[in-house]
């Protein structure tokens, strides 16, 4: 079937719609990367479906020349579930943000992940509400000054990757808007995973939360604040990869050690280890680097596969409406 797919380019996935994000928005970079990745996936264009909720990120489908549905606030995972149930052949992508996916739509996010519905969920996390003009979001750091928190927000932020892990996620990854190569690799991996693929993309909002990810994005300082994890490799970071992460087995906590002299003690990334994934997902500055890459992956039957099995079993013999109406006790009146 794959041979029949015509060679496509980035341009084939762009629409004639004027992109309306603010200048400098991280969403531009993400859009470009996804448009570039799409032809490389080598899948029929007509089978690609992008479903979004509400928010800046959720305008995304309008700019993808695929099937797209810009729905309502927080509900993209539920709508995407319906799309996939109706036609399992489709590749269904959910585009959401920190507010859409974890505030108003938090419930659906948890359930779509625990069910392991075969979708790619891309969360554009900018730690702020953009479209409603800058209020704090469920991922905003405590103390965030915003129009609705003039004295600083008092809510504690949640971690999308930890929620995804806690919900039983089977593919959990983190990347960065402007790291095109890294993001492209993660997105490609997410698309071949069977089940719910969850990708948190750290995304800068230049208007309402500019620089919130400066440490992990700025080329000068990022090496010290970001650890790119690869399955089977020791977890190291720093300009010359001179620092490493190690597990203190007594306290079950992570430690930063110099690589030199500690080679045997460094943690080797095992993306199938859930406990380790939790530790990695929790890492944050200033004491630890932020982990990016595939944090966790697990092989498990997807909801859609199991559902198909039920349907196939039930439909070995097609139902007859006539027999159904005449089932049970009937009687004849002459």
């Amino acid at each position: 079937m794959n041979q029949a797919i015509p060679k496509l380019t980035l341009k084939d996935f762009a629409t004639d719609q004027e992109v309306r994000w603010c200048p400098g928005c991280g969403d531009y970079a993400i859009l470009k990367t996804i448009q570039k990745v799409m032809p490389e996936l080598n899948k029929p264009k007509e089978n690609q479906v992008f479903i979004s909720g509400i928010g800046c990120s959720s305008r995304f489908p309008y700019y993808m020349n695929t099937f797209g549905f810009h729905t309502i606030h927080g509900r993209a995972p539920a709508i995407a579930t319906g799309v996939k149930l109706a036609n399992p052949e489709l590749d269904v992508w959910v585009i959401t943000g920190d507010g859409d996916g974890f505030s108003i739509g938090g419930n659906h996010m948890m359930h779509v992940i625990r069910r392991n519905v075969d979708l790619q969920i891309l969360v554009f996390n900018n730690e702020i509400y953009g479209l409603t003009k800058g209020q704090y979001s469920p991922t905003s750091q405590t103390g965030t000054l915003s129009p609705s928190s003039p004295l600083g927000s008092i809510d504690s932020p949640l971690s999308p990757c930890l929620i995804a892990l806690g919900s039983g996620g089977t593919f959990i990854a983190r990347s960065i808007d402007t790291e095109a190569k890294h993001l492209a690799e993660i997105v490609k991996k997410s698309s071949v995973h069977k089940g719910a693929s969850f990708v948190e993309i750290l995304q800068n909002c230049p208007i309402y939360n500019d620089g919130v990810f400066e440490q992990v994005k700025n080329k000068k300082v990022a090496p010290d604040f970001r650890a790119e994890v690869t399955h089977g490799d020791a977890i190291t970071f720093g300009k010359d990869r001179e620092k490493g992460i190690s597990l203190n087995r007594d306290s079950l906590t992570l430690e930063v050690l110099p690589v030199d002299g500690n080679e045997g003690k460094l943690l080797i990334h095992d993306e199938h280890n859930k406990v380790q994934a939790q530790l990695l997902a929790s890492m944050k500055g200033p004491d630890f680097p932020v982990a990016v890459g595939v944090l966790y992956r697990e092989k498990k039957a997807s909801f859609i596969e199991d559902m198909q099995k039920h349907l196939n079993d039930s439909r070995r013999e097609k139902g007859s409406l006539k027999s159904l109406l005449e089932s049970g006790h009937t009687w004849e009146v002459d």
Binding site: T81, L85, L90, H329, D334
Partner: protein
């Protein structure tokens, strides 16, 4: 079967012919009254009577034994004439304990037959029902024909050979009682016996114990020395149209109607729902019918349910969601998304008593306003309502037809009464159902998601997976020309008007309103919608037989309404509108047709009694005559 007359010397067992009768079984939630009722219903249908049932159960799943709030009842009206309600007053009341007696006694006619299990009238149970003295002994039941039997004792004796525990043995009380009532009405037990054997196929001892109890109850009627005035009733067969019949509840009929609709539209269904009383039955029914073109999805909440249904419709299936009032309220935003993006969607609302949690197991018609107006923005959608349990089948097909033909959400109203009540139904010929095959757009030349059918104004349906059909839709206002986002003021005006017109136009695609009983003009029209059909029908029939010029009109299409309805109503001097709310439909009728109408409302969680409507008709009629 003839009752044997040889066995008793004392009061001669007589037979009495009656045209119609109402029996009510009442007991603890755990006493199996619903099962007793459905078995009696089956035997009654097989006997050839017309019938209507009303299961009336509490919200508590297992209330403490003997509690008044745990009483579960099942009422059946059956007879030789057409029966359309479960009856007003009860002729025979079965009360399995003091709580059932005290909560149901007011329903029985004076002189009615009262069958009680004296074995359950213990001090403890009497206290729980707040009886200061035992009503079986203190003469307070003198106005009734009391048949007090220690059913506990009878059952234990009847099932003794099966070696069950005391508790297990007593579980057959309901079957013993059923046997007695079957004797009373000369019903055949064989369908119940077959049913018990198949229900307990894995536990044949329990099956046989229940059958023994059933037979023992029957034998008790035949042989025991019963008080004067207790006799076998003969209820002649009803005159009904020839054909094959079955009993059907509204829930079954609605589920099967959706399946029939999917076959006529040649489309897959995704039924996405979240459990809620009294709507869950639909999910259960369809979940076990996946051999048809239906898939079911139990969503995490009401919102996810409507959204999954919308997603399915976007993908080319027909999404269906179902709930009761509180859940429908949560779905409102999703319904508006489907209306805005012009995707088909069926929303089934099995109404219950509100507001808020209200009366989950009781019936009401108070979601009329929400169905018609309960959305943000100018968001009209077609709303239709089933009149009877069997009508749920036809209206479900109609909901599928309208949703797919007009690319619109359609709300189908049922209620707790229709969902649970059963009635005999002449099984339709499947091959006589009209086909309305769905067409998908697949021509890539000049494709735009905004292309419309000129006649229906319906938007094209281009499903994902079709090459060349890639397009985007969304909740932001769409350009009439291209379907792309448009904030243009004139475009919004045009699109709002278009959405309104599209729904209004459906009035030319639905049947003209007919008069369901009586003449098409006269003094008084009794106008109803939904499950009030049965009570209004009987009331109007009585009024007509008393010589009154009254007609019954029952509306199934609430929005848009049939195009001749206004004219039809204007043929009557006055209009009476019974509703199980505080007057919602009447407001629509008044504003739509500028007609005066009188309201008869009831919000007790119980369906109308025939007599309540008869009284209102007579009152109104008297007024009219005075005025003349």
């Amino acid at each position: 079967m003839q009752t044997e007359t040889k066995q008793i010397e004392v009061p001669q067992v007589e037979e009495k012919e009656v045209r119609g009768i109402v029996v009510r079984f009442a007991g603890d939630s755990g006493d199996g009254m619903q099962l007793t009722g459905t078995n009696f219903t089956q035997a009654t249908a097989l006997h050839g009577n017309d019938l209507s049932t009303f299961p009336d159960f509490p919200a508590e799943i297992r209330a403490p034994i003997g509690a008044t709030f745990g009483v579960s009842a099942f009422q059946i009206c059956f007879g030789a004439e057409d029966v359309t309600t479960a009856g007003d007053d009860v002729d025979v009341l079965v009360a399995m304990n003091p709580a059932a007696l005290t909560t149901n006694l007011h329903m029985i006619l004076e002189g009615g037959l009262l069958i009680v299990d004296s074995g359950a009238f213990t001090d403890k149970n009497l206290a729980k029902a707040k009886y200061e003295s035992n009503p079986l002994e203190d003469g307070s039941l003198n106005g009734y024909r009391l048949l007090s039997i220690n059913i506990h004792k009878q059952v234990l004796e009847a099932v003794a050979p099966f070696g069950l525990s005391h508790k297990e043995a007593l579980r057959s009380k309901n079957m013993w009682t059923l046997g007695l009532v079957m004797w009373l009405f000369d019903r055949d037990r064989s369908a119940t016996i077959t049913g018990l054997r198949s229900k307990f196929v894995k536990n044949p001892v329990v099956a046989e114990a229940n059958i023994a109890a059933l037979n023992a109850g029957h034998a008790y009627g035949e042989t025991a020395e019963l008080p004067v005035g207790i006799h076998v009733y003969k209820v002649p067969k009803a005159e009904v149209e020839p054909g094959y019949y079955r009993n059907i509840t509204g829930t079954q009929a609605l589920a099967w109607g959706l399946l029939a609709g999917s076959e006529q539209a040649e489309i897959d269904l995704l039924f996405a729902s979240y459990p809620i009383t009294p709507a869950s039955g639909l999910l259960h029914e369809l979940a076990s019918r996946k051999d048809f073109r239906v898939n079911t999805f139990q969503a995490e909440d009401e919102i996810a349910a409507v959204c999954a249904a919308i997603g399915a419709s976007f993908a080319g299936s027909l999404g269906i969601t179902s709930s009761a009032g509180p859940g429908i309220a949560l779905k409102a935003e999703g319904i508006a998304l489907a209306a805005a993006t012009e995707l088909p969607l069926v929303i089934v609302n099995t109404q219950r008593g509100g507001p808020s949690t209200g009366l989950p197991t009781k019936t009401e018609q108070s979601d009329f306003n929400m169905a018609l107006f309960g959305r943000h923005g100018d968001t009209p959608i077609p709303v239709i309502a089933a009149s009877t349990s069997a009508d749920c089948f036809w209206m479900a097909i109609e909901a599928v037809r309208l949703a797919t033909k007009y690319m619109t959400p359609v709300m189908l109203l049922s209620d707790g009464y229709l969902a649970n009540a059963s009635e005999p139904w002449k099984i339709p010929q499947v091959d006589s159902l009209a086909s309305f095959k769905v067409e998908y757009f697949d021509d890539p030349k000049e494709f735009r998601p905004s292309i419309r059918n000129e006649k229906t104004k319906a938007r094209v349906w281009a499903k994902p997976g079709t090459p060349g059909m890639e397009h985007r839709i969304g909740g932001i206002e769409r350009s009439f020309e291209t379907g792309d986002i448009s904030y243009d003021p004139e475009n919004h005006q045009k699109m709002t008007e278009l959405r309104k017109l599209k729904v209004e136009n459906i009035s030319s695609d639905i049947p003209l309103q007919e008069v369901s009983y009586g003449c098409d003009s006269g003094k008084l029209a009794v106008l109803g919608w939904g499950s009030t059909f049965g009570a209004i029908h009987q009331a109007v029939k009585r009024a007509v037989s008393d010589g009154l010029e009254v007609s019954h009109i029952q509306v199934q299409y609430l929005s848009p309404m049939p195009r001749n309805l206004g004219e039809l109503l204007s043929n009557f001097e006055a209009i009476l509108i019974p509703e199980m709310n505080t007057g919602q439909f009447i407001r629509m009728v008044r504003s739509e047709f500028l007609l005066d109408a009188e309201s008869l409302t009831k919000v007790s969680g119980q369906p109308f009694k025939i007599s309540e409507i008869v009284d209102a008709i007579k009152r109104k009629y008297k007024d009219l005559e005075k005025r003349a």
